[in-house]
């Protein structure tokens, strides 16, 4: 039987395959869901489940959300649970902190992460230093993973696809600690297949656990958020040339699942990291440092390489913007350099 021989060869992968088959018999078929819809579903389910959960932010209620992520929620839950705030980030972030301290579960939405900088004092000083739950936010032009990931007391998650979005927002809401969720606005409208298990109201993605999106043998490629998709594209191209990449979707920035990355590096002997943020003091830098500190260092056949945004303020003109973010060709180039091919 294919299942048994599979077990002998690749335990982890085949077990999850078995699980998938079992669910397939009893649950509805996989359906296409955009990241936006997944976030909406996740929040809707949690609002229904626990009356202490509420959403506040600019335009989240009557406007259905600036990016339509909270569409329909105000109609369903009303003024007490879905609250439009004035344009006062510092103010309403503070209100969210206070509400959480009093035992509620606020979802505090910053329209773009740049706006959250106005409230960063509340997020870092109040939120991180006290135990409570906080932010969902849309990313603007730059990636704030490194900013928030730097801070003890916060948990930071970064979804790539719809499954990630739904599972992580639900876990974030149920977590008693402040969780910053880095949503990528460009991903909102992208549809992904939502597997049967992710359609359940109890579907949660554990915070602090990475996922191997694509197994491989030659090189470990670690990314979070939108770049995960670019890495998978690069992997497909390279597969035709006989290079098999293992693509890891971090899902959580802090606490980082370094063990999954280490296990992978110990298998492939090569590592590249990919992120949208700037290179200095970033996510990739942290991964490289930790690899050096742990058992995987001795398994590296070449230095680890980082693929990042360019070290410039985000420019406006299209040609400049395109060259400021990591593209598939940059990832392929870095992989080949690392493998010396």
């Amino acid at each position: 039987m294919a299942g048994v021989s599979g077990l002998v060869r690749r335990p982890l992968q085949q077990v999850s395959g078995l699980l998938r088959r079992r669910f397939h018999q009893t649950a509805p078929a996989a359906l296409q869901v955009t990241v936006r819809e997944a976030l909406n579903q996740g929040m809707d389910e949690e609002l229904e489940r626990d009356e202490k959960v509420f959403l506040l932010g600019e335009e989240v209620a009557q406007y259905d959300g600036a990016y339509k992520v909270s569409r329909g929620l105000w109609k369903k839950y009303g003024d007490k649970r879905i609250i439009d705030t004035p344009i006062s980030e510092m103010g309403f972030a503070g209100i969210a902190v206070g509400a959480a301290m009093a035992g509620l579960r606020p979802i505090c939405e910053f329209m773009t992460f740049n706006f959250s900088m106005q409230a960063i004092d509340q997020v870092i000083n109040s939120a991180a230093k006290t135990y409570y739950m906080s932010g969902v936010a849309a990313q603007h032009s730059q990636c704030f993973a490194a900013w928030y990931g730097h801070c003890p007391g916060l948990k930071v998650v970064s979804p790539w696809n719809s499954e990630d979005a739904k599972g992580l927002i639900k876990s974030a809401i149920r977590d008693n600690n402040p969780v910053v969720m880095l949503e990528n606005e460009l991903m909102y409208g992208v549809p992904f297949e939502l597997p049967p298990e992710a359609q359940s109201k109890d579907f949660l993605i554990p915070i602090g656990k990475a996922k191997i999106e694509r197994p491989g043998t030659h090189i470990t490629v670690v990314a979070h958020s939108r770049p995960v998709g670019h890495c998978l594209e690069a992997a497909t191209v390279l597969s035709k040339e006989g290079i098999e990449c293992e693509v890891i979707n971090m899902r959580t920035i802090r606490p980082m699942d370094i063990e999954t990355i280490e296990a992978s590096v110990m298998k492939t002997n090569h590592l590249i990291t990919v992120e949208g943020g700037w290179p200095q003091f970033g996510v990739g830098a942290e991964i490289c440092a930790r690899i050096m500190e742990g058992p995987a260092f001795n398994f590296l056949d070449a230095p680890a390489v980082r693929v990042t945004g360019a070290d410039v303020p985000m420019p406006y003109a299209k040609i400049l913007e395109d060259n400021s973010v990591p593209q598939v060709k940059d990832i392929i180039f870095a992989i080949k350099k690392t493998l010396n091919v």
Partner: protein
């Protein structure tokens, strides 16, 4: 001079049989040099007296204000078109409807005074001295743009104009931060006019749903304030002159609330009709359009003729079309410039690209 004019006009008219020559002749020779208008009295907060309730408009100023407002209007409509054609990307916040605010303000201050504003900045960009070409080319991200294509809609600057700021509150802090700004300005008697362009909505939320008090001109608290009709360019001008004099005389800062209206939604991604009715927008256009109000004043008091104003319209249209042509054909900035101007006054240094093998040069 008069005889020459008569001759020219009759030559032109010889081809046009319908219009009686006499009517046109009277109109072209009898323009007033100036006219006096009554303007709305401003509501006052902590002020004994306010701006005058009459204003004098010269023919020259009338034509200038008309042309400037019409230029801003056409420029914004062109930007709308270019955005829909995808020549302009990112965020774009248009100010059509609010022209009297920008023109009136500039008319009330000196070019050497400093102005800073929010993301709805295109009107100010023009009144402060940027050319239409450089504004539109910046919106389309070309090297002929005022920020060489690197800034876009919210980051345009020129002498004594500090933008264009993307973060709400960065220019004159909102909420808690504005209270801090008011406090320090008043404490240190800074000569500063805090202006609120009250267009009745904060993004998609009506002011009545966002503000405990919508009397923004009073929210400076201990700071005096004025409520101004922002659709009347003369009202704005007189109020600005009054406020500027107040500041310059050392009395300290002052708040000015301009009651105005934007025809477009908050930004190009907001249709602007889910939180307000089309009737409301139509109503404002029909009764309070700033350009229409000025036109009526000019024509009814014989400062200029309808035809003259129409000629200005034609001129403006042409200028905007030229600028749009430039903005869509000018090349994008060169890739080498991606890392330029990160620091000022710095010797050149290397900047990392997407990986350690991609390097750009940074020149100040």
């Amino acid at each position: 001079m008069k005889k020459m004019l008569v001759a020219a006009v009759s030559r032109v008219l010889s081809g046009v049989s319908q219009k009686p020559a006499s009517r046109v002749l009277v109109a072209s020779c009898n323009y007033s040099n100036d006219a006096t208008f009554e303007i709305k009295k401003c509501d006052l907060h902590h002020l004994e007296e306010g701006p005058p309730v009459t204003a004098v408009l010269t023919r020259q100023d009338g034509l200038k204000y008309y042309k400037t407002m019409q230029t801003i209007r056409r420029m914004e409509l062109k930007a709308d078109q270019l955005y829909k054609q995808k020549f302009i990307r990112g965020f774009c916040h248009l100010c059509d409807g609010q022209e009297a605010c920008y023109v009136g303000l500039e008319a009330g201050v000196n070019p050497t005074d400093h102005i800073i504003t929010s993301y709805r900045s295109h009107g100010f960009c023009y009144t402060r001295g940027l050319s239409i070409r450089s504004i539109l080319a910046e919106l389309t991200g070309r090297k002929g743009g005022c920020a060489k294509g690197k800034g876009g809609s919210m980051h345009m600057y020129c002498k004594n104009f500090y933008g264009g700021n993307g973060i709400v509150g960065a220019q004159g802090p909102l909420g808690g931060q504005i209270a801090e700004a008011y406090n320090m300005a008043a404490l240190w008697k800074l000569p500063c006019i805090f202006i609120c362009e009250n267009n009745r909505y904060g993004m998609g939320t009506a002011i009545t749903r966002a503000a405990a008090s919508i009397d923004y001109y009073k929210r400076g608290n201990f700071m005096p304030g004025l409520k101004v009709d922002g659709m009347d360019v003369l009202c704005v001008r007189e109020a600005t002159k009054f406020a500027a004099d107040y500041c310059r005389s050392g009395k300290g800062p002052i708040v000015m609330e301009l009651q105005t209206y934007r025809y477009h939604g908050h930004s190009m991604s907001d249709p602007g009709v889910s939180y307000r009715t089309r009737e409301e927008i139509q109503n404002v256009r029909g009764k309070s359009d700033p350009i229409m109000l000025l036109q009526d004043k000019i024509v009814n008091s014989h400062l200029a003729s309808v035809e003259e104003l129409k000629e200005i319209d034609v001129e403006v249209r042409k200028e905007i079309d030229d600028a749009a042509e430039f903005a869509t054909t000018d090349p994008e900035p060169a890739l080498e410039e991606i890392a330029h101007h990160i620091y000022s006054d710095n010797p050149p240094f290397e900047v990392r690209g997407a990986n350690q093998w991609v390097k750009f040069k940074s020149i100040s």
